[in-house]
Symmetry: C2
DNA sequence: TTCGATTTGTTCGTATGTATT
DNA sequence: TAATACATACGAACAAATCGA
């Protein structure tokens, strides 16, 4: 009888890897919305005509990658960009006393633009392609600590405008996910120390000559597709960047 | 008959978690040396009197945490601090052109010291306890880029001296592991931007007024036991700190 | 409140495939 | 070639959590 899944597959992956790819494809296609439950493991096994253990192994990996979320007795869900998830996996600035807190964003500007060469390389779009560019100040404990300069391809966020962005409810990635079906699942950040431009040091209350942390971030969705490029400046007089792989992982 | 493993256990973990704890205990006790093979899964299952699937599930997690390493046909091994592992999981400085390269260390000094309050907190030792303090300059492509100030509890590294440290073969964590049975399995780093002290900017060829990246790292072994505190200064004119969770993970 | 259906979590067992020595 | 070790896949049974009737 055989394995209809592996058929027509030139690179012979194990079955569970194929299932994982299939599920990822469905996710990328927006087949299940954020927070929505996938079909039960039993149903998936029946659909794919494989054993439940194999389905579980595929889902295991997606759960480990924080793409899916399992809850005993309830089901398996597409991970949502809640505040908690942001705090754990996408926001790395903490107080020097160790305090973790979600920032409050204030939009400074929202403009249309064209991709410069850096944008083009990082976002894998054409030089000169249309972009949206948002500048934010992020406050922690009421005081401005971070300046964000966000660039996204206009093509991905068709009708996004200043109002939609400014009046969003929740995090920025939550907006991408809920309104545009774009699910940020991974970020890559490159950090260096630099003297902030005058305008920015002014915004962040950085005294003259005091350096700041510059972070260049690319956010990716499924299949390593970049969807956002962000340059941040951080006042590290009272805060710092925490890089603690695994600390929040499986116990 | 029952489950001899779970017996006497007040917090009722699943069996495979107990097995994981047991294996971790053996690792912490130095039962298997670095690079050495653990008993085969079949043998472990027999020892614990459980099924092989349960053993595999326990090992799965330790492999995911990079503590163990599995090789089909060969066995399961205690992960070794090779150059590759260091480059992937413990060394985050890359060229701005994206180049990854292992640094060459040059020892500047090796001294005995006493834990200051910062050392005491981070290393969870008594204030004033004996420490060893090593200063290094790390070169990338022949030029000095990083200054390291390393502090370790003297109690953990009984007979470590300047010669042993300086003439080591391989990475520093490799030395800890091979000679003292101390296996660094996780690091936590806190980054900020700052003006480097004159002595350090001189060493790294940083021009006056140019900021540097300061990194405070704590290295941990099993059970979240800290074993090293390290303050690094990085010249980020041509290099940057790369924070790319998962990028090197399961594909 | 209780009960039953549903869903994921754990554990066992077996068979077979693939890589290493 | 044979033995050994991990990898994949299947199936079954029961536990634990959730949710609605």
């Amino acid at each position: 009888m055989a394995n209809t899944l592996a058929a027509g597959n030139l690179t012979f992956n194990p079955l569970y890897k194929e299932v994982k790819i299939r599920i990822t494809r469905s996710l990328a296609a927006g087949e299940w919305q954020s927070g929505e439950a996938l079909p039960s493991e039993t149903r998936l096994a029946a659909q794919f005509n494989i054993s439940i253990g194999t389905v579980r192994k595929a889902i295991d990996e997606l759960v480990a990658e924080k793409i899916l979320l399992r809850q005993q007795g309830r089901g398996t869900f597409v991970a949502t960009h809640t505040d908690d998830r942001t705090l754990f996996y996408f926001f790395h600035i903490v107080g020097k006393d160790g305090s973790k807190e979600l920032p409050v964003a204030e939009m400074l500007s929202f403009r249309n633009g064209k991709a410069d060469s850096e944008n083009a390389v990082r976002l894998k779009i054409a030089h000169g392609a249309g972009t949206l560019r948002i500048r934010n100040v992020l406050k922690l404990g009421g005081t401005p600590v971070i300046f964000d300069d966000i660039v996204v391809p206009a093509a991905l966020f068709a009708d996004l405008d200043e109002d939609t962005f400014g009046k969003r409810d929740g995090t920025i990635y939550g907006l991408y996910q809920a309104r545009y079906g774009i699910n940020v699942i991974r970020i890559s950040e490159r950090l260096s120390a630099a003297k902030p431009p005058l305008r920015i040091s002014g915004l962040l209350g950085i005294r003259h000559g005091v350096p700041a942390l510059m972070i260049k971030r690319v956010a990716y969705t499924y299949n390593d597709t970049p969807v956002e490029y962000r340059v941040s400046w951080v006042n590290t007089e009272n805060h710092e960047y925490l890089s603690d792989l695994w600390k929040n992982e499986a116990k």
